[in-house]
Every structure is written in C-alpha cells, then in structure tokens.
Symmetry: C2
Subunit: 400 residues, 2 copies
C-alpha cells in the first residue's frame, strides 16, 4: 500500500507525534497531538458500545464545541474498562495538554487505543506531553508522524485530503485514521481526526460529520466486533477565511464524505491478515437502514468471508446471509452478481462459468458482491475483508 505523504494540513493547524514509551518497542511512536492555533468548532462521533473507554466518556461530554483547541491521542493502551482511575487519567491528559497550550482543559479532547483493561503508564504520558507539544509543526512530515503515533496493529499510516474552492477561498479538509481489527462500527468507529480550515458552526460541524461517518466508517467491518474506543473527531477552525454560504456547504460535505470514505477504505485495506477487499453493494430496498443491515450481515458472515478467501463463488452462503439479516424480503426478489457475473436471478440459480469466476477471485485482490433485493429506491455500499488463517493466527497471539 503506497500512501502519499505530501498531504497538506489545513491552515491554522499544527500536529506532532512522538514516542513516549507506552509501546513495548521504545522506537515506536505512541503519542499524537492535533492543535488548532485558534479556538475552533469541534464535533465527535463515538462508539455505541455500552462498555467504552474513559477517553470516550470524557470527550463525548465536550462536543459539539465552539472553542476546542486540541485532540491528544495515545496508542498502545486504550484506557478502557479501567474504572475510576481510568477516568482520572483521561482527564489529567487533557489538563496537561491544556497547560502546554494555555487553554481550558475542556477545550482538549482525548482518545486512547490499544489493549483493553490495563491502566495507562501515566508517568510516561506526563513526560511525553511536553515533548509532543514542543514538536508541533504545520508540516506534512509532522502529520505523518502524528498518523503513525495513533497506529496499533496497522501496517501503514492512513491519511486523506481534499482541497476545494469556496467562492474565492481555498479550503482544505485533511484527516488521519487508524484501525486494522476490532472493526464493527455501530453508528461510530475507530479513531480518526479530520481537520478543516473552513468556517463552520458547531451544529453544522456535527451534522456534516455524522453525514460523512454514516457513508464511510459506519460502512466497514473486519469482524463485526464494535470497539470500546471508536471515535471520529472533526475540527473546523475557519482559518481559511471567507464566508460559507449554502452552496459551499454541499461542496464541503462532499469533501468530508470523500475524505472519510477514503480513510475508511484504508482501514479495510489494512485489515489484519486479509487476502481480499470485498465491496458489497446492496440495492432495491425500501430504506437505507434495510440495505445497511443486509450489507453488514453479509459482510460479517464468517462463511462468506472464508468462501472469498478460498476464491469460491459460493453464492448460497451470500444469499442465505441475506435471508437472516432481519429484513423483510422475498427470496424471489434476490439477484446476485459476483465480480459482474450473474449467479442468482430473482430467487433461482443461473448457469455460469464457475471456474472463470473463481479465477477472477484468485487473480484480483478486490471482490465485488452486488445484490439487488427488490425494487425499492434505497442502496448502500459497504466494505469488508476476507478471513484468513493468518487473521486467526494474529488474533490468537496478540492481546487487544
């Protein structure tokens, strides 16, 4: 996976990533800081898991915000399931960052990712925060370091950007994300920070973030396990200047949607042990929720995933997953194409060249499952990965 590292930061943001010793390998970056030079609008979308990390509890109370300044993120330890002490630690992280920036701790958001159920090594973080604050820069190289500092089992860092014109004003949207497993979003997912220099109210920031997340991070899964720490934060600091009118809103929403979708797909491309990236299109439903439920059920089926691993066009597993998705539909309305070959049409099997379809699965890392389930107007696109013996090896040997 090649990632372009010449990604511009929006104006008025500075970022950094350092190694403070949370990860066992002392050379690995594990503390990131994202700062707006001026108070900015901020919105967040968080895991719907009732068991969630202390940083989620702390940050959720602080958004939407009109005067946010920073997001501090450590990797290597999720500070989840850590009781009162975990809450104290998360709040102290924001206090230490606020002291460096000269702002209120309420203006600082916090995320942690890594192993669940261990207390943070707080002395290391307390020593690391002045270091990371001292290295803040508005440079692409710093952004790469920040993106690397939030990684856990990721094999590459994840960045995406769009630049659009709003009237005469150039506006930039740039995001980072991490994630390679425990991906099963439910209204929110994984860690991501998206920054823009557009001028937005907290309410608009919140609405635009939710729109983007529903079409990106909420449409991916690796194994359907909703994490305790999923967080996506959008910071908008108005540093681009210029006024936002209604048409600007559409262009900006599209930029947010594209950046979020690109980051979400990068997470799937980094799915642990995956041989194939699976794109699932589901159309013909009465509501987007129905289409989503079918796509997610197919994506989370271990039998569908292992069939793809084996390059087996095993459409029975796909069609039967549609049937237990909990959506009311008729078998006669289901049509399935796999890599553009028709396998199942309106409830009946179709003759097709099984060897050719299998070969196309073997030859391509991308697999396309295309389901039509009726004549409704709603559709969804969802991304997942296959399930390999390597995934099992990674997850039976690594403690998350």
């Amino acid at each position: 996976m090649t990632v372009t590292d010449q990604i511009p930061l929006p104006r008025g943001f500075r970022v950094a990533g350092v190694a403070c010793g949370i990860k066992s390998d002392p050379g690995k970056l594990d503390l990131a800081l994202f700062v707006s030079e001026t108070p900015c609008a901020a919105a967040g979308v968080f895991t719907q898991n009732l068991v969630h990390g202390a940083p989620v509890k702390v940050s959720r109370e602080r958004v939407p915000a009109a005067t946010a300044r920073a997001v501090v993120i450590n990797s290597g330890n999720s500070n989840a399931c850590t009781g009162e002490r975990g809450m104290d630690d998360a709040e102290r992280m924001t206090e230490l960052v606020a002291a460096e920036l000269g702002c209120e701790s309420q203006s600082v958001l916090v995320c942690s990712t890594g192993v669940i159920g261990h207390f943070l090594p707080f002395e290391k973080i307390a020593a690391g925060i002045p270091q990371v604050a001292a290295q803040l820069q508005p440079e692409s190289a710093s952004l790469v370091q920040a993106a690397q500092a939030i990684m856990t089992t990721d094999t590459f860092h994840k960045l995406a950007t769009r630049t659009i014109m709003v009237g005469e004003t150039e506006v930039t949207v740039t995001g980072v994300a991490k994630g390679a497993a425990m991906i099963g979003p439910n209204m929110a997912t994984m860690l991501s920070v998206i920054m823009t220099d557009a001028a937005l109210s907290p309410e608009t920031t919140d609405a635009m973030l939710r729109h983007a997340v529903d079409r990106s991070f909420n449409c991916i899964s690796v194994e359907g396990h909703t994490s305790t720490s999923d967080t996506v934060i959008l910071l908008a600091n108005a540093a681009a200047g210029g006024a936002m009118d209604e048409t600007a809103g559409d262009a900006l929403q599209q930029a947010f949607d594209e950046v979020a979708a690109e980051l979400a797909q990068l997470i799937i491309r980094d799915a642990e042990g995956a041989d194939h990236i699976i794109t699932i299109d589901v159309a013909g439903l009465a509501t987007r929720e129905d289409a989503f439920r079918i796509a997610k059920t197919v994506a989370d089926s271990v039998l569908v995933k292992t069939a793809v691993t084996g390059a087996d066009p095993n459409w029975g597993r796909i069609v039967s997953a549609v049937g237990y998705a909990g959506v009311t539909l008729r078998e006669e309305d289901i049509t399935l194409r796999l890599n553009d070959t028709l396998l199942y049409e309106q409830g009946s099997p179709v003759s097709y060249d099984e060897a050719a379809v299998s070969q196309s699965m073997r030859d391509n890392r991308e697999v396309h499952i295309d389901l039509i389930c009726g004549s409704g107007e709603s559709a969804v696109r969802y991304w997942t990965s296959d399930l390999t013996a390597e995934y099992v090896r990674l997850n039976s040997e690594y403690t998350t």
Copy 2:
C-alpha cells in the same frame, strides 16, 4: 468422541440409512428414513432464515400433525435456493415414501442438508427410497445408520436417549442430530429428529418441542450463520401405552430437554476445526431474551473465539462484546469469571494470575465463561466453539 451406539428406539418406530449416491463418495450413507408404524403426533421447529430450503417450506405446512408417519432426510444436497423445481422435488420425495408406506404424502415430512443451490439428483433419490424402506428395522444398528446418513461435514454421528417411567409405563425418548458448521440458530437450528413412544396431542408435542429447542439447539452457535435448512422434528406415537397425566408431562418435558441439550452439545463438540468447547453462562438480567442476546453476542465474536484458541484470558474482548449486544446495562454491573477465576468485578479489572488462567485454557478442551450482568433473575447457558486456522481452511476449501 465416543458415542454409545446401544441406543434404544422407542416402541413402534423403525429406521434405516442407505447410500444412494448423492455424495461423491459412493460408500457414504446419504438417505435416512424414520417411520412410526402407526399414525403419530408430530411437531417441527424450522429455520427463521427468510431464504430457506424447499423441504422446510414443504414440512412446515404439515406440522403440527396428528397423523404423521415418517421423516425422510437426504444429505449431500440441501435442495435450498432451487426455485420451483426444488419444491417439486421435495414434494415428490414425500410421495415416493408415502407409496412405500401406504399412507398420504401429507403424512411424510422431508429434510435435506448439504450444498446450497444445486438441484437434487432425483433419479438417485427415487431409486434409494424403496431401498431404504426395505431396510427399516427397530434396531440400534439401524439407528446408527440413519444417524450417519444425515451427516455432512460431521465427524461422528449424534444420538441421545432417555427412558423414564410414567406411572407404570416405560417411555423412551430418542433423538438423532447432525451439524458441524453454519450453526447460528435463530428460533430453530440444524437437523434433528426426536422420537418418543409417549402419547401426546399434536399441541402438546409442539409446545414441548419448542420448550426443549429454546434450551438446546437455540443455545448453540459455531459461527452465527443461520442455515437455510435447520429443522427439528418430534414424533410421538403413543406406542408405550398408558395415559399421560399432568405430572407425567413434567418428567417428559425434562426428558425432551435433556435429549435436545445432549444433541446440541454433540454438535458443538463436532464444530469444524475447533480446539475448545466454550460454555457461556450469563446471569443477572431482567429477561431471558436479554441474557440470550448477550450470550450469543459473546459466542459469535470472532475476537473472543480467537482469544480462546490462543489460550489468552483476554477479558477485554469478552466485556466489550457484552457492551455491544444491544442490551441496556451498566458497565459497573458486569462481573466476569473465566474457568472459575475472577477477572473483572463490577466494572473494574481484578489482579489475577494470568499465566495460570492461560495454562488452564491450554490444558482443557472445555472453557467456561461466566458473566453476571446485574441483579435480575434471568439467566441462560449457551455453547460455542473457538475459531481456528483449521476452521478457515475447511471453509475456504469446502463448498456448503
């Protein structure tokens, strides 16, 4: 796995299993017949998958019944997703059996299990039905052959029996089952036939079957994929004689519950590629449904399964699965024991000997996850298997 093969049939039943050539290995049994010598009460519980096999559609219409005579089952082909022709084939199977027995085809139930989406090789089945009818016997050896003839990827056949006294009358309950993957029941599961010589009305037969299935086949999963063909049938032919009073009902219900639970656990013991059998107890909920939902979510978590595979007491994965089960609860009410060691108590981690717990997981094929999630009165016991690289290998190489 040792299975006692000296399992008695209830009086008035005859069974047989033959090889008719559906399976590619011509020596493998693939056609079973279960017959009551006299008309009997019959009940069935079927898959809730909206995409279900033609035999499910045919049999579901015929129960509860007062005058059932037989169940015919083929393995090697599920006759699911086969459209009109599949319906015709399923009905013709019951007609051919009815002709052999001299009864109405409405008195014959049918099940098929195996690969989805292929038409039945009907000539082989048409030739096999007279053969299997000719071999019907009331013997244990025939029961073993019938149990073997319904197997697909099972590595052993599955039988269970109980004999109870109802007043002066000895009543026998004997069941067979098959299943090793695509196990994710939703109100019904896998193939099983349970026979008794007790005298029951169709309504009581139905109610007792549902009670037993809710505490057995509905409490297991391998990978959470609800099959298109799951069917459990109970036949009660009154051949034991004697009258049933209310107290007899309790003893009989217990016998059904125990036979069904034993068969369900045999399925989990045969789970494809499994190294560990996991028993999940969930208690302290307001309703049985809530307890069930939590148990099933933990059981279906790929990350929980792979942690068990790796003998890793990774309680964060278990607790976080509880959190996304869709049941309202508080993190502070969750307490977790693994193989009797306390790991997490009322929302906070507990110090424990991680190496010792890991060793106990490595040394035992059985793993016990014990969750208390509040002070409610409802509880459930659920069984599942771990997920190994061998499972992935089997399911990426085998077409179901």
